[in-house]
């Protein structure tokens, strides 16, 4: 089920809220079991057959957790459990996500003729697998206590707000909240507003940018002009941001409605002055996961040799790319960041021209260009088509500069592009800061206006977004396949 579907808004969410806050009020365990069942139903709605895989994952990782806790004093045994757990989880991920890719490449590389029937990718497999690994590893590391209750492990792994597309939760963060969370009206109302913002970002901005990006990326090579290639790449840059950050906002907001506090996943990544900073602001939960469970165990940046650091970065960014999908485009996209981040680390790029305004602009421009080129690679169906697209952008294949597509798409989407670019920068954060300062200084008029303007705007955007859903307009979701 999608958050951006009428069935979620009109049926699922009201039903879950009513039952959770009335019948099950003050029965924490029952609330948790109910949320688990609702989450399984939420998942089954889109993938009925894979719900069994999800349940298997829950049961096995619950057992691994118990085993790790039991052998806590025995390093060898607990390590063995960790190895078995990793093999189990990664095998599932490998079979469903990477087996076809492996066989395809073996066939190409060795001229073999291995055949495998199409394997359907279970939605959100990369997310729930990472949740599960985090659960067992955090117990192993002593960062969280083992959870004896199977339902609670299940709830952590599959809680519906973060099940499909994160944020990727580390168990140590969520462990206490499973039983000890406290639902408050403040939290609930902030959650609702966060959800509404994400809902609007996804439907009103991301989906409209998707139409431009799709038109550009599906266009035949000879028909694509330089300007439209740039417009398509920029539209995709905005689409993926509002798509994913919108979904994260909805997930974080829904979590708060039920008393959970999830970590932030985005922090205005497009204002970054380096690709290293970009990754501290983009899909933060994935970056943190790889940092805590891969990079630091490999030695991180506290290693003796520069080559070891480069190797560690290579592993992390290769895996980051591969995590996004079984395709060379994703691997190369990850490696692009390996190269840029390695170079930035080696040259201490982030310290260059810190107090110089011009340097800031140049660094932002460099970062944005690299990010956009990266998204072209990410969006393209193959390395070849990415190269062709990039050549068009860079005037290297004789394409015309301007065409009617650019003019029409710009004219039709000027409002979306304006607000997209505006809201990809911390404008609302600045407005919010300014507003709170004024309120604290006793500006009653502004407070009174905000009481009308803020709810009216959010609700208007909500209804407009609902009208898009009713119309059945284009509603893709990029991170569904990861």
């Amino acid at each position: 089920m999608l958050f951006t579907s009428l069935i979620f808004i009109v049926c699922f969410l009201p039903a879950v809220l009513i039952i959770y806050y009335t019948v099950l009020k003050r029965h924490r365990k029952a609330q948790n079991v109910f949320l688990l069942l609702a989450s399984l139903g939420f998942y089954a709605w889109g993938e009925p057959k894979f719900v069994f895989l999800l349940m298997l994952s829950i049961c096995m990782n619950w057992i691994f957790g118990l085993a790790v806790a039991r052998y806590a004093g025995n390093k060898r045994k607990s390590k063995l459990v960790i190895v078995i757990m990793a093999v189990f989880n990664l095998s599932i991920l490998y079979v469903f996500k990477y087996l076809m890719f492996t066989i395809h490449n073996i066939n190409i590389l060795f001229g073999a003729d291995l055949h495998i029937s199409t394997i359907v990718l279970p939605i959100g497999i990369s997310f729930f697998t990472f949740h599960a690994i985090s659960y067992v590893v955090d117990i192993y590391r002593g960062k969280a206590k083992v959870q004896n209750n199977l339902f609670h492990v299940g709830l952590y792994i599959v809680f519906f707000p973060q099940l499909i597309a994160g944020p990727i939760l580390r168990y140590e963060i969520i462990a206490e909240q499973i039983m000890g969370r406290k639902e408050t009206i403040d939290d609930f109302s902030q959650g609702v507003c966060r959800f509404l913002k994400g809902f609007g970002k996804k439907i009103l901005l991301a989906n409209n940018f998707a139409l431009i990006a799709d038109a550009a990326f599906y266009m035949k090579n000879g028909d694509l002009s330089v300007s439209f290639a740039w417009l398509g790449a920029i539209a995709y840059t905005l689409q993926i941001y509002f798509d994913f950050s919108g979904y994260s906002d909805m997930a974080i907001g829904l979590g708060r409605m039920f008393g959970f506090h999830f970590p932030e996943n985005f922090n205005y990544p497009y204002i970054s002055k380096s690709t290293s900073e970009f990754w501290r602001r983009w899909h933060i939960s994935l970056g943190t996961w790889f940092r805590d469970y891969v990079y630091i165990p490999l030695g991180g940046s506290r290693v003796d040799s520069r080559w070891r650091l480069v190797f560690n970065l290579f592993v992390v960014w290769g895996l980051t790319g591969f995590w996004h999908g079984a395709s060379w485009t994703f691997i190369c996209w990850g490696l692009l960041y390996f190269v840029s981040i390695s170079l930035e680390k080696v040259t201490h790029f982030e310290k260059i021209g810190i107090n110089r305004h011009g340097a800031g602009i140049a660094k932002r421009s460099y970062t944005m260009l690299l990010v956009i080129f990266g998204w072209v690679l990410f969006r393209s169906v193959s390395i070849g088509s990415a190269v062709t697209y990039l050549k068009t952008m860079l005037f290297l294949n004789g394409a015309a500069f301007l065409d009617s597509n650019t003019i029409v798409y710009l004219a039709e989407n000027r409002a979306f592009l304006f607000f997209g670019i505006l809201f990809s920068m911390p404008v609302s954060k600045l407005v919010s800061k300014w507003y709170h300062e004024k309120i604290h200084s006793g500006n009653r008029l502004l407070e009174g206006m905000a009481l009308i303007v803020y709810p009216t705007t959010l609700m208007l955007l909500f209804f407009v977004a609902i009208s898009y859903l009713v119309k059945g307009t284009y509603n893709p979701f990029i991170y569904f396949n990861f």
Partner: protein, 407 residues
């Protein structure tokens, strides 16, 4: 006091939350209790999409899909939400609208709503026509293909600059192919190119169909061709507007395109009803799914389906179907005329045409091959018309419109 305390922090978020909760619970209540038969709609959708014998897991998936569609279709205040959607598009000054059925629909330079047609290979349609012609030649019945216009004219870019419509291009290639095969054609697009009617008079702004005035105007060419080339003797008075009553229903119709964007964006059309001001006497047979309905009386009573014009009916009622449509087989018998039998294979552009044409001949039979499952040739053999007319608008290629065989 407690209530006041509640609103001491995060006031704006709390007010928003109250509004949000009211909104979603009202939508839920409206969905369940506003008169929609959700269970019935769900079961109908499920039965239409999930065939008996489907594996259990696919049945579950099918049921989920059916329920989602039912909820989407039965959304509370759906029409108002479509209006909001249209208002949003209008506010954003959009001429290109995303649409699930057509991909995109457009507001033209004449403020009309339409879709664009893709380039099609017309060879399969030409083969069907050739086969039908051969069969009709064997029984001595002539064949005439009439090309009705598509909403977008050939030599004028009414769509946004980056969009090309291929309806006329497809039709041109098809007509050239028919010419090569020796099949007679009448291209109605030409008569509208020079008759002085404006684009907004030729087509409804909110519907893909031509207006009733346009259809009536086209009648003159059709009766002229039948008289000149097919030995008909249709009196000219049946194509003369002075012999007809013309009643304009102001702001009375939102057509199929307008329904997709709402009246705020697409506007509302006038609807013109043209009816004879002389005596008429008909028997009309309507045959669908093995059943038959019979209508007797005047043109107004037997030929028109007046329910579509009833006062108080919603603006998006299909007014155009007042000219008796959406049936597999229709037979109009005009008791006041002695000679002339026409078999017309038609799309929806044919509705007003066969009604008006029936005034000048004894018998008009109309088949819609999307609904009629028999063979057109066998039908012609059985009923022996003086001519078989195929009348389609220029968006008729690439589907099953030329499937004249038994299904």
């Amino acid at each position: 006091m407690k209530f006041k305390m509640l609103f001491q922090t995060h006031k704006i978020e709390k007010i928003t939350t109250i509004a949000f909760l009211i909104a979603i619970f009202v939508m839920t209540y409206g969905l369940l209790f506003s008169g929609h038969n959700i269970t019935g709609d769900f079961l109908m959708d499920y039965r239409n999409t999930v065939k008996p014998g489907t594996p259990i897991i696919d049945r579950v998936t099918g049921a989920i899909g059916s329920l989602e569609r039912t909820i989407n279709n039965d959304t509370y205040k759906k029409d108002d939400l479509v209006e909001l959607y249209g208002l949003t598009q209008k506010t954003l000054d959009k001429n290109v609208i995303s649409d699930p059925a057509y991909g995109q629909i457009y507001k033209t330079s004449f403020n009309q709503i339409t879709y664009a047609v893709k380039k099609q290979d017309v060879n399969p349609e030409l083969r069907s026509m050739k086969k039908l012609k051969k069969g009709l030649d064997e029984i001595g019945i002539p064949l005439l293909y009439i090309q009705a216009p598509f909403k977008l004219p050939e030599n004028e870019q009414q769509l946004p600059a980056n969009v090309r419509d291929y309806a006329n291009d497809n039709a041109d290639r098809f007509l050239a192919g028919l010419d090569k095969e020796g099949i007679n054609t009448l291209d109605l697009r030409k008569i509208f190119a020079s008759n002085g009617m404006t684009q907004n008079e030729i087509f409804f702004n909110t519907d893909h169909h031509w207006t009733i005035d346009s259809a009536f105007y086209a009648m003159k060419s059709i009766t002229g061709t039948l008289n000149a080339n097919y030995s008909f003797h249709i009196n000219e008075k049946y194509a003369d507007i002075s012999n007809f009553n013309r009643k304009v229903y102001k702001d009375y119709y939102i057509g199929s395109m307008g329904r997709r964007v709402g009246k705020t964006y697409g506007g509302v059309d006038d609807f013109t009803l043209i009816t004879p001001n002389f005596d008429t006497d008909y028997t009309v047979y309507e045959r669908d799914y093995g059943g038959e309905k019979i209508y007797e009386g005047s043109f107004q009573k037997a030929v028109l389906t007046n329910d579509y014009l009833k006062p108080g009916t919603p603006l998006d009622t299909n007014r155009y179907a007042v000219y008796h449509g959406d049936n597999a087989e229709l037979e109009f018998v005009n008791h006041n005329i002695k000679g002339g039998k026409v078999l017309m294979v038609k799309d929806s552009f044919g509705l007003p045409i066969y009604c008006f044409l029936s005034l000048g001949v004894h018998e008009v039979r109309a088949l819609d091959v999307r609904l009629y499952t028999g063979s057109v040739l066998e039908y012609a053999k059985a009923n022996k018309p003086d001519v078989v007319v195929i009348l389609y608008n220029a968006d008729c290629f690439g589907g099953n419109m030329f499937d004249f065989d038994e299904k």
